[in-house]
Symmetry: C2
Subunit: 342 residues, 2 copies
Amino acid sequence: MSLNIALDAMGGDAAPKIVIEGANLAIEKGLDCYFHMYGDSALINPLLSAFPLLQTKVTVHHTDQAVPNDMKPSVAIRTLKQASMRLAVQAVASGLCSAVVSAGNTGAYMAFSKILLRTLAGIDRPAIAAKIPTINGFCVALDLGANVECSFDNHVQFAVMGEALACRLLGKKNPTVGLLNVGTEEQKGDAVIQEAAQILKESERLNFIGFVEGDDITLGKADVVVTDGFTGNIALKSMEGVVRLLMTSIKDALASSMLGKLSYLIGSSAFKAVHKKMDPRIYNGAVFLGLQSAAVKSHGGADALAFCQAIDVAANISREIDSVGMGQEIEIKLKQIYGASL
Amino acid sequence: MSLNIALDAMGGDAAPKIVIEGANLAIEKGLDCYFHMYGDSALINPLLSAFPLLQTKVTVHHTDQAVPNDMKPSVAIRTLKQASMRLAVQAVASGLCSAVVSAGNTGAYMAFSKILLRTLAGIDRPAIAAKIPTINGFCVALDLGANVECSFDNHVQFAVMGEALACRLLGKKNPTVGLLNVGTEEQKGDAVIQEAAQILKESERLNFIGFVEGDDITLGKADVVVTDGFTGNIALKSMEGVVRLLMTSIKDALASSMLGKLSYLIGSSAFKAVHKKMDPRIYNGAVFLGLQSAAVKSHGGADALAFCQAIDVAANISREIDSVGMGQEIEIKLKQIYGASL
């Protein structure tokens, strides 16, 4: 059966253009799905006309409201009852769709998702999780920005959710889990992270390897890297910044001489391979973990290729949640860790 | 007058070898200084014999004690009264030396420095600050790991100290100051960072540009990036990890084919230039800011070149503190911000 996916057509820097182009790419790549697009039909329909195949696989639901990027989540919740983002999330809540994708205001998107989609039993707060490239493949990192302040229980829940996601996104059987800290020694970090480590260590329900440091993320020391949303967001963006700095530096250095230009020409396939590995577009699509349904956040600056990737993640996660019982697995493991107290 | 610099000969992964080689490099490069080295003379003296010139510019102070890397700072303070690190810091406190450098246990080093060297008036906690490469040069970032938990006053003090350092290390007249956050909008972040932003904005004593995000660090959006020691440490190490990942990926990609190898050969001077710009060794030497004297932390994994760089930073900072009044400038600005309440 083809999958119904809800799209917030008005979210992201270049919406609705990249949303439509991204959806079209997904169809062209053979994804068996049907889209429900929420947004301004006066903007959407003219753009859709360029994609005849996509037109047969989409219903446009008109709304005038969109969530501005700088709007506080609480204000969006209170005032924007007909926002494209809200309606897209609602489409999943009502059962019309199995997954939702938005490139809009992250805080508002998380707020709508928490309110309209149910959280899993034992999960206090959903987290944002995504794949990050490492020397030996990929790891899953969370929370990447949903929760600025986190308790030790939040960290434990993130660890369990991250493990379930890593099994699926990375195809790992018994993924290693590490807590991000300023050192690997047991006494490092604050009380919150030390308590979380204690619980994870004692429960023995995860392949917990203790604390990992910032550079261990890309070293691939842990398959799942757990941290609070403040640190995770800043670490991720700092890493993205360094990729840009390095790529620019190499390009500039090579472009500054004839020999450099020749070198680039000769080595172009190698440079392209590296660029592809590091390209944030190919691992776009952060998962809101901890919900009963699949909600995926695309980068706000995503292009069509990146948005298509986010749709792909949404389709995969939705299948895992619906048929493979990712949610039940998380709930069971949390019960094992916390015992009957849950 | 030549500068007296205290060196913890036993700190760092390859101590005392790299400490001695680094000191020798500094002398060879013409730095006008005299070293007081603290550590195990049975290990130090045989190594020194290879460097006749250095031998005329060093006094070795023997001690059996060294601070293990995994020792809690509080334990080091309580039990290691004769540790090489402590004696080196004490040499500055007693007035024998003007600056101290160690590549050892960061927490213990900061603890000894706080106890033995006086903090500036108005500074509750010293911070670790260092230069980070950006697209258009360098920025100064702090705190990179001294204080895992920080109040809003700590953030304000870091901002003032960072500005004073940026004026000197970067040669900027009116450096821009940004607070690291998960977004640039005013409502982003927790109460601590919002209160700090409010104080910095209202005081108008710094060139405060508001919040900056992780990728803004290497974009060079602010000359001074202020954050707590937990986030700063993890962001810095995450960035170092990405540099290694990218450099390895490019090297592997180029080495995997004849064309790639040829490309590397032809473009080698460009690759070397980039490598040099990103090489953590050339900006090794993090400053413990907020003390009355110059204490500089070298990376634990530093080689001789990197350790020499840390010595150079210590010499510069010591001159700024002694003759140019960096400490007074910080104290005056803090008084302006906090008014008579200080």
